[in-house]
C-alpha cells in the first residue's frame, strides 16, 4: 500500500465528488475534509445533503466519481485490497443494526472476525469481551429479536469493534432508537472515544447529540456548509490547522 510515513490525518479527501446513479445530480461535490486520529466528528444535515454518501466514501464502501480519499495516508484509488483495509481499520454501525437474525449476539459479533487470524475459541473470547464492553455481557446468547432495539445497536457496535478498528463510522446509529436508548448509545460512543481513543465519525439528525461531538460538520446540497469545533469537549489530539 502507498502509505506515506507522516500523515497526520486518518481521513483526508481531495475534491471529492459523487454523482447519483442517474449521473445528473451530485450527491457530494468538491468536498475536502480531514479527520485526525482520535477525533470525534458528527455530521449533520437534511436528508439528501450527501452526509451518508460522504460517510460511505470515507469508509471505502463506495467509489467516488472523482477526487480522492486517503485513509491513514493511503490513497484509496491505489489500494489493491480495499476489502482488507476496510476489514482491518474500519468499523461500521448502521441505523438498522443489520444483525443476522439466525445468529446469537455473541455469534453476530464474531462474523467480521472470520477475516482475521483468530482461532474459533479466541473469536468467542473476544466477542464476549466486546459484549461486556458495550454492557451486554449478560445477554450474549440472546437472538437479536429477543433484544431491545438499544441492545441490538450495542451488539452492532460490538461487532464493529470486532477487528480492532482505528475508526468507527456510524450512519444515524440512533435513528431507530427512543431517546433513552439513543442517550445510552451516545454515552457508549463517548466512552469509546474517551477511554479507547477511538476515532468516530457519525451521522445524526439529533441536534443535541450532534453538539456533544468534538466537531460538528454540517452539510447541505452535497457541500460542507460548516465545520465547527465544540469548545465543550477537549480534543485528545490537536485540531486540524484548518476547517474546511
Amino acid at each position: 500500500m502507498n502509505k506515506p510515513k507522516h500523515d497526520p490525518f486518518l481521513f483526508r479527501t481531495e475534491q471529492l465528488c459523487k454523482l447519483y446513479p442517474d449521473g445528473q445530480v451530485h450527491a457530494v461535490e468538491d468536498v475536502n475534509i480531514t479527520v485526525r486520529r482520535g477525533e470525534y466528528v458528527a455530521i449533520m444535515g437534511p436528508s439528501g445533503s450527501g452526509k451518508s454518501t460522504l460517510l460511505n466514501l470515507l469508509g471505502a464502501l463506495d467509489r467516488p466519481t472523482s477526487g480522492e480519499v486517503y485513509i491513514d495516508g493511503m490513497r484509496l484509488s491505489k489500494v489493491r485490497n480495499v476489502d482488507r483495509l476496510r476489514s482491518r481499520m474500519l468499523g461500521f454501525v448502521f441505523q438498522s443494526f443489520h444483525l443476522l437474525p439466525i445468529l446469537t449476539a455473541v455469534e453476530n459479533v464474531q462474523v467480521p472476525m472470520f477475516e482475521g487470524r483468530l482461532s474459533a475459541s479466541a473469536r468467542i473470547a473476544r466477542a464476549k469481551e466486546l459484549l461486556d464492553l458495550v454492557g451486554l455481557g449478560h445477554r450474549i446468547h440472546h437472538m437479536p429479536q429477543k433484544l431491545s432495539v438499544g441492545e441490538r445497536q450495542r451488539v452492532a457496535i460490538a461487532r464493529a469493534l470486532a477487528n480492532e478498528p482505528i475508526a468507527l463510522l456510524a450512519d444515524e446509529p440512533t435513528g431507530n432508537l427512543d431517546s433513552v436508548a439513543a442517550e445510552g448509545i451516545f454515552e457508549l460512543f463517548a466512552r469509546l472515544h474517551r477511554e479507547e481513543g477511538m476515532t468516530i465519525v457519525l451521522i445524526t439528525h439529533d441536534e443535541e447529540l450532534g453538539r456533544r461531538a468534538q466537531r460538528l460538520v454540517r452539510m447541505q446540497d452535497g457541500h460542507i456548509k460548516s465545520d465547527v469545533f465544540s469548545a465543550r469537549r477537549r480534543l485528545r489530539t490537536p485540531l486540524p490547522p484548518f476547517a474546511v
Partner: protein, 377 residues
Amino acid sequence: MRFYTFVLKNILRRRVRSALTVIGMAVAVGAVVALVGISRGFERSFLAIYQREKVDLIIQQRGVKQKLTSVLDAGLGKKIAEVPGVKTVNSGLVDFTSMDELGPVGVLVQGWEVDSPMMRHLNILTGGRPLEASDKNCLLLGERLALSLDKKVGDTLKVFDDATYTVRGIFKSNTVYENGGMVVPLADLQRFMGRRGQVSGFTVTVDQPDHKAEVERIRHAIEALGKNLEVTPTIDFVNSTQEIVFIRAMAWITSAVALVIGAVGMLNTMVMSVFERTREIGILRAIGWGRWRVIRMILMESMVLSLAGGAVGAAGAVLLTRVLSNQPAVSGMIDSYVAPDVIAQGFLIALCVGLLGAAYPAYRGAQLLPTEALRHE
C-alpha cells in the same frame, strides 16, 4: 463459531428453499445413478454370462452386431475344436419368445447342447436336474422366470406355438438375463426357429488364456476357417454388442438431460438465493468481509446442498432400481445392484453441478460494491 457453522446455519435458515434445491439435485443425481447403474448392470450381466464359463473368444457371423441375427453352420464346431490351443467349444442358439403370462416382455431362450459344459455348470436348485439327451419336451427355467410364472419342477407350460414343455429344473445364475430366461435343448430351438443345423455362434476357451500372443494366434486360425467368421475376445465382444452400445448411449443421453435439468434448477436456486440476499452480502462486505469470503460462503452453501442432493438422489436411485427390478414387467431385465463407483460418480456430478451452478451467483455477489448491495431492497 466456525465458518462452516455459519454456512450451515444459513442453509437451515431457508429450510424450504434448501429442501427444494436438495430435491432438484436429488432428482438429477438419482436419474443419473439409476440410468447409468441399470446400463452398467446390463453390461455386467452380459459379461458374466461368458465369464462364468471362462470364455476367451466368441465366434459370430461376420458383420453381424446382434447375436440374435447371427447364423453359422453348427458343423463348424468340430473344425474349431481341432485348432491347436483350443480347449473347449460350445455352440448355442439364442432367441426371444413372448409368453402370455408376462405380457409384451420378451423372454430369453437359449438352446444348448445337452452335454455341453455350460449345461453341466448351471447351478440347478434342489429338486431339479440338468437336461439330458433322453429328455423330451423339457426345459430349465431361470429362478426369476419361474417365480414370475409361478412354476416349479415338474410343472408344464406352453412355449413356441403352444408346445407343452415340462420344467425339469430351475437354475440360479449370477446374470440377470439368464435368471429371467430359459434353457432348452439346442435341437428343439433349432426346430422351432426353423434353423436346423444352424447356431448363433460359438464360445471358445483356450489352453493358455493369459498368453495374449497365443490367444491372438488362435483367433486368426479360427477366422481362417471361414471368411464369414468374426472371432472377438470376450470383453471386446461385450463392449461392442449393439444392445450394450445402445443402452449405454441411452443411459448417457437421458442422464445428460436429467443433469441439465438439475444444473438449471441449481443455478436458478442459487441465483435467486444470492439475489434475495444481496443486502445481506452488502452488510457482510461492509462489516469486513472480502470478496473471496463471500464467494467461499456461496460455494460452500452450494456444495453442502449438492452433496445432500447427491446423497438423497443416490439412495433414491438404489431404492428405485431395487423396486423396478422386482416388477414382473421388467423381470429379468434390470439388475438391482448399483455399483459403488456409479454412486461415487453421482456424487461427483452433484458436486460439479453445484459448484458450476453457484459460480455465477458467487461472482456476481462478490462484485457488488457494499453500497450497491446495501441499497438493494
